[in-house]
Amino acid sequence: MNETIRELLTRVGGLPVAVTELEDGADLYAAGLSSFASVQLMLGLEEAFDIEFPDSLLNRKSFASIAAVEQTVSHILKAREAA
């Protein structure tokens, strides 16, 4: 999952730094992730993992770092399994 997230981030993140150089916990907004790029990332994640973000997770916190994105996606996948 970490790799898929990094690939997406490279493709749609528009970051001025190389995604490979970012730690999992690095602040993506500080690294230059714009609001619009975070939306692109969200749509890319939905397609890649065949999930739908609930409104409650459509916020900055969900996309704050690669680790946060991983956690958010895992949360959605787990909720789907439970359903």
Binding site: S34, S35, F36, S38, V39, M42, L43, D55, L58, N59, R60
Partner: protein, 303 residues
């Protein structure tokens, strides 16, 4: 809804607004315009000493600038583009025939021009200032007013498709522009109080389009980027935004290449007055006959 229709009907009956047959597109009477002019003088009085550079653009803007602004990413549903007939004589004949028969949409052949209707008074400003090069020491302060277009037909007289927005835009460091925004929040409350209007200020968001828009809404609210000054006009439960106070962080600075004297990216903020909405709030609160308005309000506006 009924209340909205009835206030609109009362405005038509009093001749303050003039029906055109299109929801949200109205003429204004001399009296209505006089109230707007008086309120704009009040804005000048409060903000004039700040020394803002005034610029007035027509209600259409350069389509290339509009495209760069990213408006279509966020608000495609509100935008209005200007299209014209660009054909030859033969095309003209088919156009007239098409209009006469009325079966097909005659506007299909219209082609996009280089002009887009201005969605907010400050949109033409950013590329204009960026062209000048780095901002001077102390940043920039600008005074704008324009008719603006938003495609949202409604019977609520406070939601018009063509309306005027007066704006001050500040460019500088983060603390400089957020101080400017706070100053105008305080001034806005005082100004409205001086014309007898009850107001509240609340955190707000722009009407971003679609599901992706929900995320932009949450981002905007989480970061306290937009506040609105609200006045009850057609509903007490859902008061109308008559002013907005927006902090754009460095997003416009980065987008347009707006830099400070030392070359760092400028932060920007703007404060906007919805002039028709303020006039409507005054008519709704004090009555449709300005001669009957409280003396203190009349003195503030026309004293």
């Amino acid at each position: 809804m009924d209340m909205q229709v009835s206030f609109l009907d009362r405005l038509f009956d009093a001749g303050l607004l003039i029906e055109t047959g299109v929801d949200g597109l109205y003429g204004r009477s001399g009296q209505f315009e006089d109230v707007i002019a008086a309120f704009e003088r009040l804005i000048d009085k409060v903000g004039g000493a700040d020394g803002a550079e005034a610029m007035r653009f027509p209600p259409g803007m350069n389509r290339a600038f509009f495209e760069t602004s990213g408006y279509m990413k966020s608000f495609p549903q509100l935008a209005g583009t200007v299209h014209s007939f660009c054909g030859n004589e033969l095309d003209h004949m088919s156009l007239l025939k098409c209009m006469e028969v009325g079966e097909e949409d005659w506007t299909k052949g219209q082609e996009a021009t280089d002009i887009v209707l201005t969605p907010a008074a400050c949109y033409p400003l950013y590329p204009t200032v960026a062209r000048r090069g780095n901002l001077p020491a102390g940043g920039g302060l600008f005074d704008l007013q324009s008719y603006c277009f938003r495609h949202e037909p409604s019977k609520d007289p406070a939601r018009q498709q063509l309306f005027r927005m007066r704006e001050y835009v500040c460019m500088g460091t983060e603390s400089h522009v957020t101080d400017f925004r706070q100053l105008w929040m305080d001034r806005g409350v005082e100004m409205m109080k001086s014309v007898g209007l009850d107001v509240t200020i609340d955190i707000a968001n722009d009407p971003f389009f679609g599901r992706a828009g929900k995320m932009l809404v949450n981002n905007q609210r989480d970061q306290n980027l937009k506040f609105e000054l609200l006045i009850p006009i057609t509903s007490v439960a859902k008061p109308t935004a008559c002013m907005s106070f927006n902090y754009h962080q460095d997003s416009f600075g980065l987008k347009w290449g707006l830099n400070l004297e030392d070359g760092s990216v400028a932060h920007t903020a703007c404060v906007g007055f919805g002039l028709e909405r303020i006039a409507l709030a005054l008519f709704h609160t004090h009555g449709l006959d300005v001669n009957e308005w409280p003396g203190s309000v009349r003195a503030t506006l026309w004293g």
